[in-house]
């Protein structure tokens, strides 16, 4: 409640928005468009996946046997829970419970870091097997033609996704600290909402990667 009384200083250039509500509308629209660009970014990798799955159907059907399905599924669980926590954090800040919001954001940060550690454990195992991308592929247990492409795609898709998780963790840490510092409250919390949207997108992308790479 204490933050509602403190109107934010607005620079004169931003006065073109009639009121704070239309400012927030603009920020949301901008974020939605940015998320669309992220979808298009990943669409390239999904296209390549589709092409090589059609070219080497046998390889892509056998590949999940060489993946750690347990760790992949655990990571799915970790990301979905962290996404729920971020959604709860947004709900908390909307209702003026800033401390709860900061705590929920911090928890989802921990889960994001856990995701990265689990992913690193998987990567270590692949490196040990020789299941490396591109020219370094040397996995003798899975030496069919096209298997190297499966693992190249696996590394690129999960790698680009992991970079997004890393960025997302940074965003959520910043948001949690700023929430603790009292910058956001029931009246103004647009950055928390935008950061949450980004984190949900990272989650949704993983929900496509998980079945494509581990289950089918």
């Amino acid at each position: 409640m204490r933050h509602e009384a403190s109107p934010r200083p607005v620079e004169p250039r931003a006065l073109h928005f009639g009121d704070e509500a239309s400012r927030q509308d603009a920020a949301h629209l901008g974020m939605w468009i940015f998320l669309a660009t992220e979808v298009l970014l990943f669409s390239v990798l999904f296209t390549a996946y589709a092409l090589y799955r059609l070219t080497y159907p046998g390889v892509f059907q056998q590949a999940p046997a060489h993946m750690d399905v347990f760790l992949g599924t655990l990571n799915t669980f970790v990301l979905v829970v962290s996404s729920i926590l971020v959604a709860l954090a947004v709900d908390a800040i909307r209702n003026g419970r800033d401390f709860a919001a900061a705590a929920l954001l911090a928890l989802s940060v921990l889960l994001g870091i856990a995701f990265l550690f689990i992913k690193a454990a998987e990567y270590t195992k692949h490196v040990h097997d020789g299941a490396l991308p591109g020219a370094w592929y040397a996995y003798e247990a899975f030496a069919l033609p096209g298997a190297n492409l499966y693992f190249t795609l696996y590394w690129v898709m999960t790698g680009v996704h992991a970079v997004h998780v890393l960025v997302g963790v940074g965003v959520l840490v910043t948001l949690a600290l700023r929430t603790l510092a009292g910058e956001f409250g029931a009246r103004f919390h647009t950055p928390v909402e935008l950061g949450g949207m980004y984190w949900h997108l990272v989650d949704v992308v993983w929900l496509f990667l998980w079945p494509l790479l581990y289950l089918t």
Binding site: P12, R13, A14, L15, H16, F17, G18, D19, S22, D25, A26, L29, G30, I33, F34, A36, T37, E38, L40, L41, F42, S43, V44, L45, T47, A48, L51, Y52, T55, Y56, P133, G134, A135, W136, P145, G146, N148, L149, T152, L153, V156, V160
Partner: protein, 545 residues
């Protein structure tokens, strides 16, 4: 809560004088200043790309080696293509004129995200520096398209260029997000969607293409980089990959990118035709829907770059038909512009001369586009000068003429001074004829079988090559004159006054040059733009106050 426009309409300082000093420019969030800074850098890029174009034409003056060896020639056309496409044409009209005019044209104080706008400028500069450094220190010889497998095996260092173009792409995306959000959220009361100026519609359609296509390019460039550092294999048939996948993904961006280059130009023409014919657009709706149509269909035509690359016959046929749809939308625009001029009160000014050049050259560029969209004909013309001539008619004949039209039409808006009109018209005619002399022979050369990207040719082709080089020299001379008289006019041109053209476009309702926050009072737009039947109906001043 209305913005604080309470001060009376005394002519305060313009955006040029609101703050002084280089630092105030480098840290500005004013969309007009950012537009001007973009314009300055873009003109430098155009100069650089133009110098290399002339170098290429000099080399092609005689068969055999004229002034440079074959590797040097490959590097020179790479510099020309990379600079002109990535660093000049794609950002040109949206970042310079879009930035300057879009908020003015919808009655806003600025774009939706002013800080992001400045970030976009610096990203562009950073990307441009990386690209240029990469091209020159690496001696890149791949052409501007970075086709695999050559780009992944060439001994030249392609990486900095790939990264540089990737960063420029980021700048493009940020600008696109900014413009779309601005048009959605910041239109002044009264500016409904069907009253938005046609230039804004064109920039809006362009922004949608930029936002949806550029991420694809970014990822493709990263995959090529990965191919180079890690032998990823996705585009390498020796590892089971498919080089054609690169072409599909690359052109999924780069064909829509052609419309990133030409749609804003069409928007400029739509504005200038109305202003210099003193008429409302013949059909506002046709222009709007053809803009939206081109933005959409532009995404479905990329396969026409791969007619000879091993595409399925059905795929080629489908892409052929879809490509022709673009010509229908373009023709709708051309007829609308001609209909606007018909029985208008034509004022043959410099911008209008470029408008005429634009329409004439776009017509030939577009018709030759339909010709190469026919698969059987394309087998003959593919990778020849015919294609080179075709896309130069669109990119130079159309986009660049529109850029020059915009530069002259809005020159008084930007700096408050006029350029010498007679000299402007004369130079415009020189440039248009120089252009035709450069590229008409290239159609003929291509039809005779002259392949693109060759430094050498049989002696029988020499007369046409000489004609082309002569035309290019005329073009270069014309640009030089434009640079001289516009540079002179910046300081010594006569004062333009608020609206030297008597235009009823919304952007002319504010001062020229405009004040820092664009309008002294909230603008009122009861009538559509270019409503010459009701002059003065739209006004800046809130009289009730």
């Amino acid at each position: 809560m209305a913005p604080s426009h309470a001060e009376p309409t005394v002519a305060g300082p313009s955006y040029l004088d609101a703050e002084r000093g280089l630092w105030s420019w480098l840290t500005t969030r004013d969309h007009k200043r950012i537009g001007v800074m973009f314009l300055a850098v873009l003109l430098l890029m155009f100069l650089l790309g133009g110098i290399f174009a002339l170098a290429l034409r000099v080399e092609l003056l005689t068969p055999g080696e004229t002034v440079m060896g074959r590797l040097a020639y490959n590097r020179a056309f790479t510099v020309h293509g990379v600079v002109m496409v990535w660093l000049f044409l794609i950002p040109s009209i949206p970042t310079a004129f879009g930035n300057f005019l879009l908020p003015l044209m919808i009655g806003a104080r600025d774009v939706a995200f002013p800080r992001l706008n400045l970030a976009s400028f610096y990203l562009y500069v950073l990307g441009a520096v990386m690209t240029l450094w990469g091209v020159f220190q690496g001696g890149v010889d791949t052409g501007w398209t970075f086709y695999t497998p050559y780009s992944t095996v060439t001994g030249r260092d392609v990486m900095p260029v790939l990264l540089g173009v990737f960063v420029v792409g980021f700048s493009t995306i940020l600008t696109g997000i900014n413009f779309i959000t601005t048009v959605h959220t910041l239109r002044a009361p009264g500016v409904t969607w069907m009253k938005v100026p046609l230039f804004v519609w064109a920039i809006y359609g362009t922004s949608i293409i930029q936002v949806l296509a550029t991420p694809v390019l970014g990822m493709v460039l990263m995959l090529v980089a990965l191919e180079r550092v890690a032998g990823a294999g996705l585009f390498d048939s020796s590892r089971g990959g498919d080089p054609l996948l690169f072409q599909h993904l690359f052109w999924f961006y780069s064909h829509p990118a052609v419309y990133i280059m030409v749609l804003p130009g069409m928007g400029v023409i739509s504005e200038a035709v109305c202003a210099f014919s003193r008429k409302r657009p013949f059909s506002y709706r046709v222009i709007v829907w053809s803009t939206v149509g081109i933005s959409f269909v532009g995404f479905l035509t990329w396969g026409h770059h791969m007619f000879v690359s091993g595409q399925s016959t059905f795929g080629a046929g489908a892409f052929s038909l879809l490509s022709m749809l673009v010509a229908i939308f373009t023709a709708m625009k051309i007829f609308t512009w001609l209909g606007t001029m018909y029985r208008g009160s034509l004022w043959v000014s410099t911008p209008f001369t470029y408008v005429l050049g634009f329409i004439f050259l776009l017509f030939f560029g577009g018709m030759s586009g339909v010709a190469v969209a026919v698969t059987s004909a394309d087998l003959h013309w593919h990778d020849t000068y015919f294609v080179v001539a075709h896309f130069h008619f669109i990119m130079v004949g159309a986009s660049l003429m529109a850029f020059l039209a915009a530069l002259h039409y809005w020159f008084p808006k930007m700096c408050g001074r006029m350029y010498p009109e007679g000299m402007g018209i004369g130079t415009a005619v020189l440039i248009i004829f120089g252009f035709i002399a450069t590229f008409l022979p290239q159609f003929l050369l291509g039809n005779l079988g002259m392949p693109r990207r060759y430094a050498d040719y049989p002696e029988a082709f020499q007369p046409l090559h000489v004609a082309s080089t002569a035309g290019a020299s005329l073009l270069g001379f014309g640009f030089l004159i434009v640079a001289i008289y516009l540079g002179w006019s910046l300081r010594h041109g006569r004062a333009a006054g608020r609206n030297p053209w008597g235009s009823e476009g919304y952007e002319w309702l504010s001062d020229s040059p405009p004040p820092e926050f664009n309008f002294h009072a909230p603008p009122r737009f009861p009538r559509p733009p270019h409503d010459y039947a009701n002059p003065g109906a739209n006004t800046e001043v809130e009289h009730a106050a």
